[in-house]
Amino acid sequence: MDLAHVAILPILIPMIAVITNLLIGDGRSDRFVGLNIAFAAMSVLVAVLLVASIILAGDAAVAVYPLGNWPVPFGIVLVADRLAAIMVLLTAVLAFAALVFASAHWYRNGTNFFPLFHALTIGLYGAFLTGDLFNLFVFFEILLAASYGLVLHGGGRNRVRPALHYIAVNLVASSLFLIGVALIYGTTGTLNMADIARVSAQLGEENRGLFEAGAAILGVAFLVKAGAWPLHFWLPTAYSAAVPPVAALFAIMTKVGFYALLRLWTLVFGEGNDFGQNTLFVLGLLTIAYGSLGVLQSKALDRLASYLIIVSAGTLLLSVAYNDPGVTAGALFYVIVATLAAGALFLLKDIIDQGLPAEAQVLAVSLEFYGDEEDEEIDEDQEVSPTIPAGTALISCCFAIIALLMAGLPPFAGFLSKFIMLSSAFDASNAPTAATWWYTAAMIISGLLVLIAMVRNGINIFWTSMPEEGIQVRVAEIQPIIGLIGICVLMTLFAGPILDILNDTAALLHSPQAYIDAVFTSMRNTQ
């Protein structure tokens, strides 16, 4: 099969899945669970195919699919370069794990879970693959529309209220997105991202200001999606209100904002242009600081996970702002690890919630206020060796690994990614600048705070609240978690080859000429 045709498959397959689901009717029926898992698995296969074909095709290979075969600056194109392909694969893996998890019972909590879930992945794949600014908006709306439905999945007052805020904030952000796109179109006369990159270099002085204003407004829209301070306030409530498999998939939604910023800033403003970098850097620092404090003050596991997403959003913003290929490669490594680990944490939280007695969550909160009951008599038999049932042992191990991944401690991939980012930041300049030190401090201190919070939560859950008989763990629910963590562990083992690929990706990203050329030569002769 032609390389370019693979680029549209990640969008087609979930689209067929949505249509099939709507045609076969009742989404709550058990009969179609297997079918939906098969669709998700097929998306993973296609994503693997896409990544493999692009990597095998050479260093600067870019798969371009002109929809309807219209000539390039006018028609809409799908562009799969290495970054897009890797993000698609990451989404597919996370979506597969979340879907398998949801197939245990969560899909029955409301209507049309599966079609909405697949529709969300259409939007995600499309946003990563599109090479057209307005189409980016359309795919954003597809993924947001599906996510509105999914936030509400399960219903109830505690979901509807955060969903209302979430929708209102995102509608305003969409308006900003349109204003930004319109300003960029008004000054450059094109919507194709490669064409914008070409035209923006030759913009006259009179249009430059308007163009940059457009880019800045667009940037604000992306920052809302990315959950940057001070535009993040909808995020913790919405994410912790969503049902766990949905929240797990949402872990990648903030990364769409990061992706869009990285894509547009490297493509349009390119090397040597520091438009908005300082602002992004400061926002990144504030986001990471706010997220770390939020992590520290979270007593419930779902809020902790939401704030962890804000911490990783801050880390990624800092890395985009650093604008250095080495740092970008580290950030790509980090984005994979952080997304998978955050997804796994959201899923794990559900198993823990099911296992804990209802008052345990309250206990975890009240412990903070009233102090530990230290004077409790300890049974002699219990003191020697309470048998930890296998289920509890398994999930506590998973929790520990996620904590290490999130805090960036050795030996796992979280440490490697932070190490790559920091060492590249120091390599980038001969003498480390103030920015480098801020960057280092933010990474290390946030890691420490995350570790403290994770350990404290772990102690609260596994030592003080765990029921005697342990937690019953369903196989369908623990499998995807182990899978996600397993991928993170494998990334630690194969860090060398993966980093080589990511380094090439970052290099391609920071010298976008190959991307632009590929888009412009994509017209194919059908005659």
């Binding site: 307005f134 509807v160 209220r161 209302l164 209102a168 969409s174 308006s175 796109v181 179109y185 008004g186």
Partner: protein
């Protein structure tokens, strides 16, 4: 014409922003609608303002681009309107659900 349009966009967006920041859900949804009208007009204006210039080319023999309006912003506005309506409708449903569940129309579901 430029001035009229600029004032219209400004007034729509400013009123919309004010309403979005109000505490009642009805005000928020009207504000969102006003903002989206303002944004749609803004997109249209980005194709440069022209009168009596159709965006569709009819005479294929001798095309003079200066005789025609830019069709792209019009296509964009069409898409933006459709998406905007759909999202507003969805927001309305959620708004009604909050109203039903919390018994009042405050955006935080509290107050009287």
């Amino acid at each position: 014409m430029e001035l009229t349009l600029a004032i219209a966009i400004g007034v729509l967006t400013a009123s919309g922003t004010y309403l979005v920041l109000r505490p009642r859900t009805f005000q928020v949804i009207i504000g969102l609608s006003l903002i989206s009208y303002g944004v749609n007009l803004f997109i249209l204006s980005m194709g440069r303002l022209r009168t009596d210039a159709p965006p569709i080319i009819t005479d294929k023999a001798n095309i003079d681009p200066s005789q025609y309006a830019d069709p792209v912003p019009q296509a964009l506005v069409l898409t933006a309107i459709v998406i905007g309506f759909a999202m507003t409708a969805l927001f309305l449903v959620v708004m009604l659900a909050t109203r039903g569940l919390s018994g009042n129309d405050h955006v935080d579901g509290k107050g009287s």
